[in-house]
Structure formats: structure tokens, C-alpha cells
Amino acid sequence: MIIVLKNRVLLTLFVLLLLAAFGLPFLSYAPNRLLSGKSISLISLLHGPALWLLLPLLALAVLSLLTPTRNRARLTACVASVLLAMIFWLSGYTAQQLALQGSPLARTSWSSGCALMAALSGLIAADAMTRITPSHLWRILGNALVMLPAALLLFTHQLDQLSLLKEYHNRQEVFDAALLQHLTILLATLVPALLIGVPLGVLCFRSIRWQGPIFSTLNIIQTVPSIALFGLLIAPLAGLAAAFPWLANLGISGIGMAPAIVALVLYALLPLVRSVVAGLQSVPASVIESASGMGMTRGQIFFGVQLPLALPLFLAGVRILAVQTVGMAVVAALIGAGGFGAIVFQGLLSSALDLVLLGVIPVVAMAVIVDSLFKFIISMLEVTAR
């Protein structure tokens, strides 16, 4: 018998999903937050209402063998959404059951199986979304919709007995402050980076003489490890603050936000300047020639022709550096800049894995949101100005 594979992507993801479901531990249960727990497999949980979990798995099995069509892709996305919600619900429900029996210090956490299953469900939905619509906006909205049932569980306190959420409730204020700090670092990096990087990029594009030295300087900065750069900035900034007290009053000191932002801006400059140059270089020479041949002034050519045509590539660069900054801001916690990094390092130092996750998950989420936001803006530009 010849089996024709109709939907390789879905089939692969589904097989991986099965392996994760039945080959890896689903949850782990520990007597307290510091001890490592014992594994709970998915099979041992499959009784009573949990049996419903088999239904979306069965549906995915069938769908992965059929030729993908748009309607089947829609169905796949819905099934994946339901599966994702059920995985979360089962983990939350099990945690509640265990909490009724065990001590209040006991912790139920997600294990590799649960995390992988959730990730694979998300991937299955995202893949289905690319088959449903070519529009970035609809894909972003669609993916948000897929997450909605799972998010509802979170906001209706169904997951509160999980260790991660317990960590959150214990540190709600710290978490909210970290969110604010992280966003502050992101914005305080992007704005000066753009203000410096864009003119620098234009200069590099216009003058070959400056391009070499500017790129080599930025390349050197890029090769300094981030922790080293944070460290290197402590002395000069502390010196500045000591010499000019008004700087210290502005909040500038050797540790804290100031050196973090300076370092992150320096790191952001290379990708930014590169993308400005790449964007401007992508404008065909013939377009510039005919623009000036028709009597447009330099300013008219720059703002009317070069800028709009360079924008998609430029924004692609900004997107990369925004995501990069979200990630690197974690390390900045080492010199007291705060943000989610502070939670991550606290977790690492006290070997509390769930605390680490509490810091990492929102960073990942923020990176995804920033990424989607820029993708969306770029796709809007491509619609209006091809």
C-alpha cells in the first residue's frame, strides 16, 4: 500500500506532539519550591474529564492525513486552540486536585511534555494560519484568537495552583515593576538609538569616506560581550556622576539604568546603521537618476523617493534590534537596571526554576509582540506602497 503524504508539516508536528504527550513527563510535583519533584505522566492523568483531551488529538490525526484546504486549515486552527486550552486546563485542574491532598508548600509545575505540547499546538495553529490567509494582520489576529481560550483559563484563575502562578502571586508588585522597567529600557534604548543611528546611516550612505571608520567602530562595539560592556561603563559613568553632581541628580550613575541604556544603544547602532544603509542602497539608481533628471531637489528626492522606498528594509532592521534589545535587557539586570532580568537572576541564584520562568516567559511574550507589531507595520507599508 502506498501512503501519500498530503500534509507533511502537520503530520510531523502531530507525531512530535504524540511523542511529547506520551514519552515525556507532563507535570512534576515537588514537596516545596526548591526541591526537584517527581514526574507525573499524561497517561496517569487520562481518566474522567481528562479523556476529552483525546478528542482533539484524534481530530489532528485525521486532519494530518488529509489534503490541506482552507477550510481544513480553519478547522486545524480551532482544534489546536482547543487542544492548547485543554493542556492548560488539565495542568491547572491536576494542580488543584493535588493541592487538596498535599501540604500548602507543595508545588505542581509544568514539565517538558506539557511545555512542548503547548508549543507544538501553537505551531500547528500558526502553520494553519499561513494557509488560511496571506495577510499579516489577519494572521496576527488569528494567532491571538487561538491563544484566547488558554488566556481565559489564566484570567479566570483556573491555573492558580500551578507553581508558576504561585510565584507570580507572591511577587505581583515586583513583577509589575519589572514589566514597567523592561518597557522603559526598551523605549529608552530605541529612541536615542534611532536619533543617533538614522543620521549616522544616512552619512554612511552618502559618504564612502565615513562608511569604513563608522562600520569598523560599530563592529568592534558589537564584538564586546554584553556583560563586559556593562562592566566597562561602570567606571566612566560613575566618574561623570561624581564630577558633575547635576548628572547624578538626573539618575546617572555607574550602575542602574544609565549604563544599561548606554550599552544597549551602542549595541543597537550596528544593526540600525546597517539597515539604514541597506534600505537606501535598495533604491534603484535609475529611480534616483530620473528623479533628479526631472528637477526634484535633493530634499524632495530624499523624503519623496529614497525614504519611502528604504522604509521596509529599514523597519525590518528596527524590528530585529527591538527584539534584540528586549532579550539583552535581561542581562542588564546584572548591573541593577531592573526589569525581568532581576526576576530571572533571583530565580537562578535561589535555584527556583519557576521563578526563572516567571522572568523568561514575559520576555519571550514581549519579544513576540514587538516582532508581530513591526511585521504588521511593514506589511501595511507593502500594501500601500509596493
Binding site: P284, S290, A291, G293, G295, M296, T297, P308, R386
Partner: protein, 311 residues
């Protein structure tokens, strides 16, 4: 209209244009022709100051071109290039209205002008107005390019190998178009090409350049029949000079009264095309008809070689 007085341009110590004196009369169709590196494009670009000349004087409408601001000068001259250079993020309408926008024409006038030009270049206005360049074929893009160059009714139209990148069929139809526009508007046109047939077919006057100097200038007929040296003779083709001469004349100039059998040919057809019909049909006489199909006369094969009109 345009006057070059002992103009030179030096690139890295080497003269690209060397002591060039030329003049292009108002309403004249001048074709600058030469091999690559002959300085023909440089000469063209010096007219609208995309390249500044180093020595000598260039006058436009009686004034030295340095007296104008480059932008003002360029807005009075249309400019079309081989790679077209349409703005990819603007619609056809926005592209064509570039210079009128720069000159701040009222909106209604711009709209009317765009419609008029699109009709002139046989682009259905309602169909193409809102399209983007990437939605057009190469030939349609160059039509838009030419329309854009003509938009503000420029005194001079400068064209740098405008049809070089097009396929032969599209190129031929655009050549017909540009000849028609020249006839209709009587505008001064300067065109750069390396295509000899294009030059012979379009030019009132051909300027043959080599190494930045004029080798010979004159009407197509003069260059074919009285080449000043071997370079000119070689350039215009030693072996098929006769064929090229035939391309300059039309059937109407050689036909005689009479009748003949067979499929008729058009009176406006070039003698070169007529020769091809003679050979293909193996016939010695062809009936000639006008555009409406009315019988006008007959063309004998021997009429092709009667030199009364040519040399």
C-alpha cells in the same frame, strides 16, 4: 534651442567629451549615436546638468545653462532613460504628474494632462491610471516613462537609449509612437542610441560621435551616401548600406501609375519592407494601396534601384 560651444568633459584625466561644438535647432529631432564610451550619454546629460561640463559653453534658449538653477532647467526639459526609473511606490498617474506637481499646477489641470498623455501614448486611462509600475509590462512602463517626460510640456525632450531594453516588436511600436509625437508637437528632441536603424528611422539629423568628438553630422541620407571616412562607412554598415538607404524611402515616393495582381502593399511602407515582400513573393510587380485600401498604383522591382530620389 541648444548650443554646444567647444565643450569638454574630463573624467579622471581622460576626456569623455572633447572640444564639442553642436547645435540643435528648435523642433529638430537630433539623434546622438556612437559606440559605448563615445561620449553620447555624457553629452546628453550635460544638457540638463546631470553632468556638469568642465570647459566651453552650453546654451539653452539663448542663455548659458549655468544661469539657470539645475531644478528649473530640468523641469523645462523632459527626461526619459533606458531603465525608465518609474517610482515604484507611486501609481501611473502619480508618476506622470511628477513634474506638474513640482511646478504646482492646479489639480484639475494635472488630471486632464495625465488623461491626455495616456491617450497619446495609447494607455487606456481608466485601466492604467491607478496601477503601480510593477503591474505593467516593460513596454507599458516605458510608455509611462515617456508620458512622464512629456508631462509639463517641456521645451526639449531628452532621451537616453529609451527603447534599448525592450523587445524588437515593442521597440518598433514605441519608435512609431515617438515619431508621431514629434510630428504632432514639433518638439525639440535629443535621443541617444547605438541602434543604427533607430537613428536612421527617427532622426532629422544624426550626430555620430567617437571618443568624445563629432565624426560626422547630417541628415540620415547624407551620412549614408557621403560618409566622410571609413569609420562612418563601417559604422553604418558597408555591406548593407543599400538596404539602409531603402529604409529611408517609402513606396509612395517610387510607385508609378498602373495595376498589378496579388496582395497589395501600403504606400507608406518603407522600400526596405517592400524589397522583402518582392523577395518573399518572387514577384516583380506589386499593387500599391493607400491607408483606406484605395488603389494608388504599382511598384516595379526595378523602381527600387532607380536612384533619382536618393543620391
Amino acid at each position: 534651442m541648444i548650443n554646444f560651444d567647444r565643450v569638454s568633459k574630463i573624467f579622471q584625466g581622460k576626456p569623455a567629451v572633447d572640444d564639442l561644438s553642436l547645435s540643435m535647432a528648435e523642433g529638430e529631432f537630433t539623434v546622438l549615436i556612437g559606440t559605448s564610451g563615445s561620449g553620447k550619454s555624457t553629452t546628453l546629460k550635460m544638457i540638463n546638468r546631470l553632468i556638469e561640463h568642465d570647459k566651453g559653453k552650453i546654451r539653452f534658449a539663448g542663455e548659458e545653462i549655468h544661469k539657470f538653477k539645475p531644478q528649473d532647467l530640468r523641469r523645462r526639459m523632459g527626461y526619459a532613460i533606458q531603465s525608465i526609473g518609474l517610482f515604484p511606490h507611486w501609481t501611473v498617474e502619480e508618476n506622470i504628474s511628477t513634474v506638474p506637481q513640482l511646478l504646482k499646477w492646479p489639480r484639475a489641470r494635472i488630471r486632464d494632462r495625465v488623461t491626455e498623455l495616456m491617450e497619446l501614448l495609447q494607455l487606456e486611462p481608466e485601466l492604467f491610471r491607478r496601477r503601480y509600475p510593477h503591474q505593467l509590462s516593460g513596454g507599458q512602463q516605458q510608455r509611462v516613462g515617456v508620458a512622464r517626460a512629456l508631462a509639463a510640456d517641456p521645451e526639449v525632450l531628452l532621451m537616453d537609449e529609451p527603447f534599448g531594453a525592450l523587445d524588437p516588436v515593442t521597440r518598433a511600436s514605441l519608435q512609431v509612437e515617438i515619431a508621431r509625437i514629434h510630428q504632432l508637437s514639433g518638439r525639440t528632441i535629443v535621443l541617444v542610441t547605438h541602434d543604427i536603424d533607430e537613428a536612421l528611422g527617427l532622426a532629422d539629423r544624426i550626430v555620430l560621435l567617437d571618443q568624445g568628438r563629432v565624426v560626422q553630422q547630417g541628415t540620415p541620407l547624407e551620412l549614408l551616401t557621403n560618409p566622410v571616412n571609413n569609420f562612418v562607412r563601417d559604422f553604418f554598415g558597408r555591406s548593407d548600406r543599400g538596404i539602409k538607404l531603402l529604409a529611408l524611402g517609402t513606396v509612395a515616393e517610387r510607385m508609378r501609375p498602373g495595376e498589378a495582381d496579388g496582395e497589395p502593399i501600403l504606400a507608406m511602407m518603407s522600400l526596405r519592407e517592400a524589397l522583402s515582400v518582392f523577395v518573399a513573393r518572387g514577384s516583380e510587380r506589386l499593387p500599391v494601396v493607400g491607408e483606406q485600401g484605395q488603389a494608388l498604383g504599382v511598384l516595379h522591382f526595378s523602381d527600387l534601384i532607380s536612384h533619382k530620389a536618393l543620391s
